[in-house]
């Protein structure tokens, strides 16, 4: 061989790298030699053309034969792998099942992540849709609705928006032939659906003429309402309903799309909404109740839009100083709709994806151990194959083929698991984002499954390489694959067990912290007594009860009827109630007020309180304690002095150490209200949130209704039908929205953290089972391998107790190592959970202690079974064996 090889030969050697390693190993040197000869003998006189021709045919030749040769090796390896797997079905099934669970968990979570976070919105050019927001920074409000006048200004004066559409949602009573329905109604401007690019399933969407004052009232039905309430009637277009004392005609049905900001049953144009279309509303710049969506002009960015809107807001502030007081700090911003739709879901889904990745890691470590155990059993076969000339690379490739077949099988099993559990996950996501209904398995999810399979194959591949190259000198000498010595292999297996324990520990800590946080939440004193209280949410037909006098009168009759039931010990009617899901996060009832005698400067933020209207029995029914002063009386009616009760927080925040009782406040600066009592704080908007500054006014002086609350001696749920009958007897057109016990309401308020804890718990349990099974199977194998040694020790006088403790010691030692690593990992990672935890530190010692105890106990049980088998080994038989 020439000592220095020429450039051409070197290129040829490079080309040969395209061929399978063993082909190269067998013929590579020879091919180089032949090519060298060929080059030397290509007659120079034939010149460049011959030279180029030779290179061209050579390159074409190698490039075309390489895939053929690789394919032939792959086919051979696959046939062989399938034969080996058929020979040990138990191993194959276990590996596919465990990996399948790991991959399945990932596929399931990914399919949600994919549909919710990664896919574009199912609207036309969804990435250009934005949501406009007014803010009143100094009032602490970042989502102030828009008034009709404001929408008109922003629509006509902007330079960056192609379309501007408005939206608000109300509940109306829809009368069909059979009964009264309370329907959530989206009130939208005519271009709303066109802006989103929504094509109707049936009929048409709204047209500009539908928006004109006095236009015939029309409706569009949501897909869900059409399916559920109209049984998907294909001839629905043209059907009429009675609503707000007018005939409404159905003009179209929407396709199943995510509705934002809230789900509605039906949609109407602004002209059909009695509130939005009233002259008073249109003239009042401060009558803010609409949300505004817009579409960016092509090429316009969010930043440009923001600058554009801010300029306009500045102009409006200068022009209408009364509507935009300096004390409120008005401003405007825009946010991409896509970000807005998934803001709550994103952190939770990413956490879950992380948890699922951990399950896969554990499954990988577990199956890696199975593979190692199997490699040990196949040692003889591998040695023989090496002896007949298979190179190390060749055997590695064989092992890799086996693992990729396993992984692909597992990915298929995972897809099955995932499609089975998809509904469950979508229900979970439903609480976080309206996009949950888009969750499905598509090409991206399939690709992800394949990627998971590839990743696991790579893990196994590097592991096989680790084991086979553990002793490179020996490997080189024999020219083949050399398995690491048994001791080294056991170290690797031990390491894998410890890794499983560690990963499992991290997941268990995650689940443990969430459970603890949930327990903390459930322990929270919400400031009222939910037991044995039934709540009935209802809506009056707006058009019939159009004055506060009429509302008060019907409330009086309702309350009398309810109170006359013998089971009812206390009852009240109020505008809403604590933890009412209908008012969650809605600050519509937040109102700023003035305190008599106090001088507030321009720059100072006025005091704000959440307003609740209630009948006198409200506090007794809910068990809200009176702190000082008095509760409402029946005599606090429209003819008496206006009175109010404040919560303890409001009293402290606004009057400090002074007694607010007898002091007066005003909302409008004209009508003054005297404070007559202080009651305890109530967590109105969620157990994890601060009790708001609450101000109660008597229903008899205002006339806002929304719910009936009754306290009973027995089971409140048993009263459901009785309550319905009593209410409908007063007026069959009253729409009953929800009937729930306050215990249920309270439980529902923590549904999202509960479901998250459950999902995390599920993943953690899965990982614990896999890890514990790993410990058990490894010890069982090691006992089987050491039968003879154990036999000798017993023959030499070791007692079964010693044997048991020796085996358990190994199991516990590995668990201990994993535990230490797990604690380190958990401390490092748990801070990512911080935002999801309530009054629970990510390093909560109690959780760490409890999880450690659970893991140790599980490891003890897993070690106990093989230990007992070891102790039962008969020394006679053991010594005779082998």
């Amino acid at each position: 061989m020439p000592s220095r090889i020429s450039f051409g030969d070197r290129i040829y050697r490079g080309l040969l790298r395209l061929l399978p390693a063993d082909f190269r190993g067998e013929f590579g040197g020879e091919m180089e030699q032949v090519f060298h000869d060929q080059r030397r003998h290509t007659p120079r006189e034939r010149g460049w053309a011959a030279f180029l021709h030779m290179w061209w045919t050579t390159i074409r030749d190698i490039v075309s034969m390489a895939p053929r040769e690789h394919w032939s090796v792959l086919r051979q390896d696959t046939r062989y792998a399938m034969r080996m797997m058929r020979r040990s079905p138990g191993y194959t099934m276990a590996a596919i099942l465990i990996l399948g669970l790991g991959i399945g968990a990932n596929i399931a979570v990914f399919s949600v992540v994919n549909s919710v976070l990664l896919q574009p919105l199912p609207y036309l050019e969804g990435n250009r849709l934005v949501l406009l927001r007014q803010r009143a920074v100094k009032l602490g409000e970042d989502d102030v609705p828009f008034s009709v006048a404001e929408i008109a200004d922003y629509r006509s004066q902007n330079r960056t928006l192609a379309d501007v559409a408005e939206y608000h949602s109300m509940t109306f009573t829809l009368l069909s032939v059979r009964e009264a329905h309370r329907v959530r109604t989206g009130v939208v401007s005519a271009g709303f659906f066109d802006m989103f690019g929504v094509k109707p399933l049936l009929g048409r969407t709204f047209r500009p003429e539908d928006d004109h004052p006095g236009a015939p009232a029309v409706l569009m039905l949501s897909y869900e309402f059409w399916k559920t309430n109209e049984a998907g009637d294909p001839r629905i277009v043209g059907k009429t309903y009675q609503m707000n004392d007018r005939v409404h005609t159905v003009v179209g049905v929407l396709p199943p799309i995510p509705q934002y900001p809230s789900d509605n049953d039906v949609y109407m144009p602004v002209s059909a909404c009695p509130f939005r279309s009233s002259a008073r509303m249109i003239a009042n710049r401060d009558g803010r109740m609409m949300r505004v969506f817009a579409r960016l002009k092509p090429g316009a960015t969010l930043e440009q839009c923001h600058a554009d809107l801010s300029t306009m807001a500045g102009r409006l502030e200068a022009e209408y100083p009364k509507s935009y007081p300096k004390t409120a700090g008005y401003g405007i911003s825009s946010a991409a709709l896509r970000t807005e739709l998934t803001a709550h879901a994103r952190p939770m889904l990413l956490l879950l994806l992380g948890a699922a990745a951990f399950v896969l890691l554990i499954a990988c470590a577990n199956v890696a151990n199975l593979i190692l155990a199997r490699m040990a059993r196949r040692e003889r076969e591998l040695v023989i194959r090496t002896a007949v000339g298979a190179g190390a690379g060749r055997l590695l490739r064989q092992l890799l083929t086996e693992s990729s077949i396993l992984a692909l099988g597992a990915a298929a099993a995972g897809l099955l698991f995932a499609s089975g559990s998809l509904r469950l996950l979508a229900d979970f996501a439903e609480q976080l984002t309206p996009r949950a209904r888009e969750v499905h398995i598509d090409g991206w999810v399939l690709l992800f499954a394949v990627l998971c399979a590839c990743a696991t194959t790579m893990v196994f591949g590097s592991l096989s390489a680790l084991v086979s190259r553990a002793n490179p000198a020996e490997g080189l000498k024999s020219g083949g694959l050399q398995l690491a010595p048994a001791a080294h292999r056991n170290r690797i297996r031990g390491g894998l067990i410890a890794a499983q324990v560690a990963f499992s520990y991290v997941l268990l800590i995650g689940a443990g912290l969430m459970v603890r946080s949930l327990a903390q939440l459930q322990r929270v004193d919400a400031g009222f007594v939910p037991q044995r209280v039934l709540s009935v949410g209802f809506d009056l037909n707006w058009s019939r009860y159009n004055t506060s006098g009429k509302t008060r009168a019907v409330a009086r009759r309702l309350l009398d009827s309810v109170q006359s039931q013998p089971e009812v010990s206390a009852a009240a009617i109020s505008s809403s109630f604590p933890l009412d899901p209908d008012t969650h996060g809605m600050n519509a009832m937040d109102q700023s007020f003035r305190i008599e005698g106090s001088v507030t400067s321009e720059a100072e933020t006025p005091p704000v309180a959440n307003i609740r209207t209630a009948t006198p029995g409200y506090f007794q029914t809910l068990g809200i304690p009176l702190v000082s002063g008095r509760l409402f009386r029946e005599t606090d009616d429209e003819n008496a002095t206006s009175v109010a009760i404040v919560s303890r927080s409001l009293a402290r925040h606004r009057w400090g150490v002074q007694d607010p009782i007898g002091r007066r406040i005003s909302f409008d600066g004209e009508k003054w209200i005297t404070i007559v009592g202080i009651v305890g704080d109530v967590k109105e908007f969620g157990l994890a949130r601060q009790a708001p500054d609450q101000l109660y006014t008597p229903l008899a002086q205002t006339g806002m209704v929304g719910s009936i609350l009754v306290r009973t001696a027995g089971d409140p749920a048993a009263l459901t039908n009785q309550m319905r009958r009593a209410i409908l007897a007063i007026d069959p057109q009253i729409a009953i929205i929800t009937v729930k016990t306050l215990d249920e309401v309270r439980a529902d308020s923590v549904a999202a953290p509960r479901n998250t804890a459950q999902l995390f718990g599920l993943f953690a349990a899965l990982s614990l089972i896999i890890a514990v099974a790993g410990i058990g199977s490894m010890l069982a194998l090691s006992v089987r391998q050491r039968v003879r040694e154990i036999g000798i020790r017993m023959a030499l006088g070791a007692r079964p107790r010693n044997i048991v403790s020796a085996v358990i010691r190994v199991g516990l030692a590995l668990t201990g190592i994993g535990l230490v690593a797990g604690i380190a990992g958990a401390v490092a990672l748990a801070r990512f959970l911080n935002s999801a935890l309530f009054e629970t530190a990510p390093t909560d010692p109690g959780t760490y202690a409890a999880v450690s105890a659970v893991l140790l106990a599980a490891a003890l049980v897993a070690s106990w079974l093989p230990a007992r088998r070891a102790a039962r080994i008969d020394p006679q038989t053991a010594l005779r064996s082998e």
């Binding site: 030699q33 003998h41 030749d61």
Partner: protein, 116 residues
Amino acid sequence: MSNSQTGLTPAMFNVLLALADGGKHGYAILKEVAEHTAGEVQLSTGTLYGIIKRLLEDGLIDEVTARPAIPNDDQRRRYYRLTAAGRALAVEEARRLERLVARARSKRLFAALKRA
């Protein structure tokens, strides 16, 4: 494109033919095939060794263990020769071709060609 009866492609048959009169190394095979077919069958190294691999696997050729004594011979060179099975298959293929040519003659194909 392989022959359905013997499973040999023309290139494989040519390699067998090249080895019919004794063991040769790769480059010699390449050269002989090119010369004897007047450049009609052009093997490159890749194709050649693909064929050699298959012929070895099928037991039609084997490696010559006793290398011919050639001064300055490169040790990377390996010499191949026909096995009995390889020879038998080559003969069978040659006969098949012979019969084919005889048929063509009986149909006076060549005469027709000359007249044309």
